[in-house]
């Protein structure tokens, strides 16, 4: 069985290793596909759907779809851009995101994606749900207002920290993150460091990085991926 396969992304041929996801193969070839829940060192759960592409004409999450020979993948189109924008706008409408007073601002992947996608207003009515801030842990805040239910922390707690300190409970719009209390969350846990937004934060660290030096102050999210490919210019 061959180790490598060939597929096309927006008409361009790339080679990928068997076992890679489309998202990983694209990144390795310098093509950035916007995504929120996938993280290289974690198992992808396909929770956020931001990484949506068309594979042989069918819509699919690129982080969970493995590569195979001859696939034709569409990443950049007006329609896919619109779908990504809508998904990200829904995340803003569904939670309580007050960026001006959020410690994660400037380092937040959700916010950075909104910048990159050109979201200047949210088309869905803001829900302003009633959610809690859990400050019980001595070192860690959990702010449910900002949680986008991406599942990174749950995944990391289970498979990287080998605990199950965090789990999801409830369904649909009542789904939320819960601290199981079976084992203790530790400030050094991977689960604490992987949150793409400001929903899990270490205490006593807020606003330590000055404006102008934050992760996304100068370069859009995805620019580091695109710098691997001389043919792509980050918008």
């Amino acid at each position: 069985m061959p180790e490598e396969v060939t597929l096309t992304i927006d008409g361009k041929k790339i080679t990928a290793k068997i076992g890679q996801s489309i998202l990983e193969a694209a990144e390795e070839n310098g093509v950035y596909i916007p995504h929120l829940c996938a993280l290289q060192e974690l198992h992808s759960t396909g929770a956020c759907r931001v990484c949506m592409v068309r594979i042989d004409g069918r819509y699919s999450a690129s982080c969970t779809q493995p590569v195979s020979d001859g696939l034709q993948v569409e990443v950049e189109s007006d329609e896919l851009l619109e779908i990504r924008k809508m998904i990200v706008e829904m995340l803003f409408a569904e939670g309580n995101h007050f960026c001006p007073c959020c410690e994660k601002s400037g380092n937040c992947e959700l916010q950075a994606l909104a910048y990159r996608l050109g979201i200047d207003s949210v088309r869905f009515p803001y829900q302003f749900p009633q959610r809690e801030v859990d400050a019980e842990h001595p070192d860690v805040f959990i702010d449910h207002n900002r949680c986008i239910l991406c599942g990174r922390c749950v995944e990391a707690s289970r498979n990287a920290d080998h605990k199950t300190a965090l789990e999801f409970i409830g369904r649909g719009k009542n789904k939320r993150l819960a601290v199981t209390g079976i084992v203790d969350l530790d400030r050094a846990d991977k689960a604490v460091s992987v949150c793409p937004v400001g929903a899990i934060l270490l205490k006593r660290q807020a606003f330590q990085v000055p404006l102008g030096q934050r992760r996304f102050d100068h370069e859009p999210i995805g620019a580091e991926v695109e710098s691997r490919n001389p043919e792509v210019r980050t918008p």
Binding site: D120, S121, P125, Y126, F128, R131, D217
Partner: protein
């Protein structure tokens, strides 16, 4: 010599903190360039309280927290060709909308009766009919009227406001460089 009629600009602060207006003043000496090419109509900058003419551009700071905000915003929509939401409060509700997940009665109780620094032995709430009525929720401007452009930032920087205004006044596309795009 003919004097061309200058386009008119109106500005207002609804449920905002005036920070966006301060940021506009922060364009510094470019204010002099600005008044060369526009006239200010209804605005706290010249203290004109009602529209005197139709305006080319209306800049709205702040979202709607009470019935007066809604009324003024509707007036701006009627009187301005282009209506622009300026800043996070106008664009999303912003900091005033932090109260939205708490029932209004509880907010009023905290502010006027049970708050730790409140002295109000009779427990009355402000009821003067001159006072605008609070809405149940603070809402962004585009949930009340049609908004043509949204300018992000808390506040948008002076440079951002300058670039947006000059683009709109010269009929060009508003295209901000990445570093000026900020939700904070």
């Amino acid at each position: 010599m003919t004097t061309a009629v200058k386009p008119r600009i109106a500005t207002v602060s609804l449920a905002g903190c005036f920070g966006c207006h301060m940021s506009l003043l922060d364009i510094d000496e470019r204010l002099l360039d600005l008044v060369e090419i526009v006239d200010f109509d209804r605005s706290p900058i010249d203290d004109i309280k009602t529209f005197t003419h139709r305006c080319a551009i209306g800049l709205v700071e702040g979202g709607c927290a009470n019935d007066e905000n809604v009324h003024v915003l509707e007036e701006f929509r009627e009187n301005c060709d282009i209506l622009v939401s300026i800043g996070e409060c106008a664009r999303t509700g912003g900091i005033p909308a932090l109260r939205n997940s708490i029932p209004l009665a509880e907010c009023l109780d905290e502010a006027y009766r049970s708050g730790p620094t409140v002295y109000n032995p009779t427990g009355t709430l402000p009821t003067d009919e001159e006072l605008p009525l609070l809405l149940n929720r603070v809402v962004p401007c585009h949930e009340v009227v049609r908004i043509d452009y949204h300018v992000m930032g808390c506040p948008p920087s002076a440079e951002t406001l300058w670039q947006v205004l000059t683009a709109l006044l010269s009929n060009e596309k508003v295209q901000l460089p990445y570093e000026l795009i900020k939700y904070d």
